[in-house]
């Protein structure tokens, strides 16, 4: 699809597990085990899954903060999989990231003006004398007063810090932002503010988002399409509405049934998922979900299902769909 801003093919990221006296590589932690994904320009793609499923690794590998073990990443039709840091630098302006923990994502020794202006300085986007004005404009965009310029991060609340982090990312005028659990560490009332801010900025700056979260409600609300990850692979991907109304993969169904209902009658018996998440060092054979799947059959143990297109925009990786 030619209006894809990001195209990922068979992306794998393995981390070596070193043991023994001489730190020999005994095994691999397969954080990403073959991801195929197209992100369309202007969409918000939600990415959900439990801890350890690889969603954060996917976000970081997209930005080349990790080097892929296998596979390719295309950004705006440029293959960035193996670019050296020199060639990568100008492209970095187009892809930015917002982190989960507002308390460790800002340098405690830098003033706000310097934090937000960093990107402007590195890429020479505006003249040095213009940096302050540009930073004030960005602060305005994220809803902060210019009074904050000479303050340090520890003087702000979580929500305010996230706004500063967002302003930092926006400074370089990116086209695509990876949002890695950006509201998970915030209070509920602040979450709503930041979610609204994300919507506003998307329109103003014409952004594409990859929105990673374990909070299924927030993902539903903010995403156009949602992908579900399990142990390093995408098991289902569909439009936000389709996924929540009509989940097809057993894992997705279990995930959705775990969400507590607020206020509604609780006579719906929720299916509780059994067993522990297997370790990414020891991925089960065949369909990696078979160890916890309520409807697993023999073929699920022996062969791994591929993502198949079921109907418009809805893809699932399951033998039994």
């Amino acid at each position: 699809m030619e209006n894809s801003i990001v195209k990922i093919s068979n992306l794998k990221k393995y981390f070596p597990v070193k043991t023994g006296v001489f730190s020999k590589t005994s095994n691999y932690l397969k954080a990403l085990d073959g991801i195929n994904l197209d992100i369309k320009k202007g969409e918000t793609l939600g990415l959900v899954g439990e801890s350890g499923c690889g969603k954060t690794t996917l976000g970081k590998t997209l930005l080349r903060l990790y080097d892929p073990t296998e596979g390719t990443i295309e950004f705006n039709e440029i293959d960035i999989t193996n670019l050296n840091s020199g060639k990568l630098r100008p492209i970095r302006k187009d892809i930015q990231i917002i982190f989960q923990d507002p308390y460790s994502s800002l340098n405690p020794r830098q003033k706000v003006e310097s934090i937000i202006g960093e990107g402007l300085l590195i890429h020479g986007i505006v003249k040095k004398s213009e940096i302050r004005n540009e930073v004030i404009k960005l602060l305005d965009d994220v809803g902060l007063n210019k009074e904050v310029l000479s303050r340090y991060p520890h003087e702000f609340s979580g929500g305010q810090r996230q706004r500063i982090a967002i302003a930092r990312a926006l400074a370089v005028k990116p086209k695509f932002i990876v949002c890695d659990e950006p509201v998970s560490a915030l209070d509920v009332s602040v979450q709503a503010q930041i979610i609204n801010l994300f919507f506003k900025l998307k329109k103003e700056y014409n952004l594409t988002y990859l929105f990673i979260s374990h909070d299924l409600r927030v993902v539903r609300y903010i995403s156009d399409r949602v992908a579900v990850m399990y142990l390093g692979k995408i098991v289902e991907i569909a439009s936000s509405e389709q996924l929540y109304k009509n989940p097809l993969h057993p894992y997705t169904k279990l995930l959705l049934s775990s969400i507590p209902n607020i206020g509604k009658k609780k006579n719906i018996k929720r299916e509780i998922i059994k067993g522990d998440l297997p370790s990414p060092v020891n991925i089960p054979s065949g369909c990696r979900f078979h160890t916890r799947c309520p409807i697993a059959e023999q073929r699920c143990i022996s062969s791994e299902p591929e993502l198949r297109n079921i109907n418009k925009l809805h893809n699932v990786a399951c033998h039994l769909v």
Partner: protein, 337 residues
């Protein structure tokens, strides 16, 4: 929609540390002592020496202790009476002796109203030697630590930031350095080189960087994984910028504590070297040098032992106390972050 930013008084990191530091009375006294020592060291010529602090001669005001004047060349400053005659107004330094003038009539004399700290075996005034020796001790301390600092930060930083094989090699280098008995290494090097004050500074610095390097390496290893550093990489900052603009300021605090202890250590080392005869060559006065003379005359010349010994003790202790006070001031703040 603008948010209200109700913010408290802005305290930068270092101002907060200073407030904590001030709470420890002992450390503050120690800091004051060090500060006084600095004053003594910087103004040594104004405190002890033959040249007047200020004199009015032929209707001009001169500061001979500080500057050299063309017009005053040829005047013999050693005879204070003559100076008093030719000037209309003169103030001499409180200690009227220089550190190097011999007075063979007052060899090894105990403290009296002329020589407040007594004299050594060449009749040199001990107090004057102590005052002029201060700057020697302090400069060796600071320059040596400065050199160690630079080497330590560079090696530790590279090892901690890059990890992997680079770290492996550099860490082995640390370990080799650490296993050397440093003092004997210094003696050996000095045996082959000219014993000058610069060589001593360089040698102490070049052998004393391992503690700093290890601290820096540890902090770099930890901090390089923090989100705010990842954000810099995502913004496109290059490695040098990340290491020195972003990681280093956050890793500096414990290193500065180590540096204060390092200064104390360097001063002690220099004194030990001078005591053994490997230190700063004569006639430059150094505390260790005065102390070393006491070896021969310790039976009766107690002033050659007490005064330099006390000076070294107080200085080193003060630096240690300041270092400790500094470390305590940093600790609760680290927890708060």
């Amino acid at each position: 929609m603008k948010e209200e930013t109700k913010l408290n008084e802005s305290t930068g990191y270092w101002s907060g540390v200073w407030i904590e530091f001030k709470k420890d009375k002992l450390s503050v006294i120690a800091l004051f002592l060090i500060f006084s020592l600095f004053i003594v060291a910087v103004f040594d010529d104004l405190l002890a020496g033959k040249k007047p602090i200020i004199m009015k001669y032929q209707n001009n005001i001169y500061l001979p202790a500080v500057f050299k004047y063309k017009e005053l060349v040829g005047i013999d400053f050693s005879d204070h009476n003559k100076i008093k005659d030719i000037s209309s107004f003169v103030i001499f330094p409180p200690v009227k002796y220089s550190a190097t003038e011999n007075d063979l009539f007052s060899v090894l004399s105990p403290p009296d109203k002329n020589h407040y700290f007594g004299t050594d075996d060449r009749g040199r005034d001990v107090l004057s030697r102590m005052i002029h020796g201060a700057i020697i001790s302090l400069s060796i301390g600071f320059v040596a630590v400065g050199i160690a600092f630079i080497i330590g930060i560079i090696l530790g930083g590279i090892a901690g930031y890059y990890g992997g094989r680079t770290d492996f090699i550099i860490s082995r280098l640390f370990e080799i350095m650490i296993t050397f008995p440093v003092f004997f290494l210094i003696l050996t090097i000095l045996a082959f080189r000219d014993p000058s004050i610069y060589n001593i500074m360089i040698v102490i610095g070049a052998t004393g960087w391992t503690g700093i390097a290890r601290l820096i390496r540890g902090d770099f290893l930890k901090i390089r994984n923090y989100d705010y550093i990842t954000a810099q990489r995502a913004l496109g900052a290059n490695d040098i910028r990340i290491m020195f603009v972003h990681i280093l300021p956050n890793a500096l605090a414990p290193v500065l504590v180590a540096a204060t202890f390092g200064v104390a250590g360097a001063i002690l080392t220099e004194s030990a070297l001078s005591f053994l005869g490997f230190g700063v060559p004569p006639p430059t006065p150094s505390w260790g040098d005065v102390l070393s003379q006491s070896k021969k005359y310790v039976d009766f010349a107690w002033w050659l032992v007490i005064f330099p010994g006390l000076a070294i003790f107080l200085t080193v202790t003060s630096f240690n106390l300041v270092g400790e006070g500094f470390r305590n001031a940093l600790d609760p703040k680290l927890r708060g972050r």
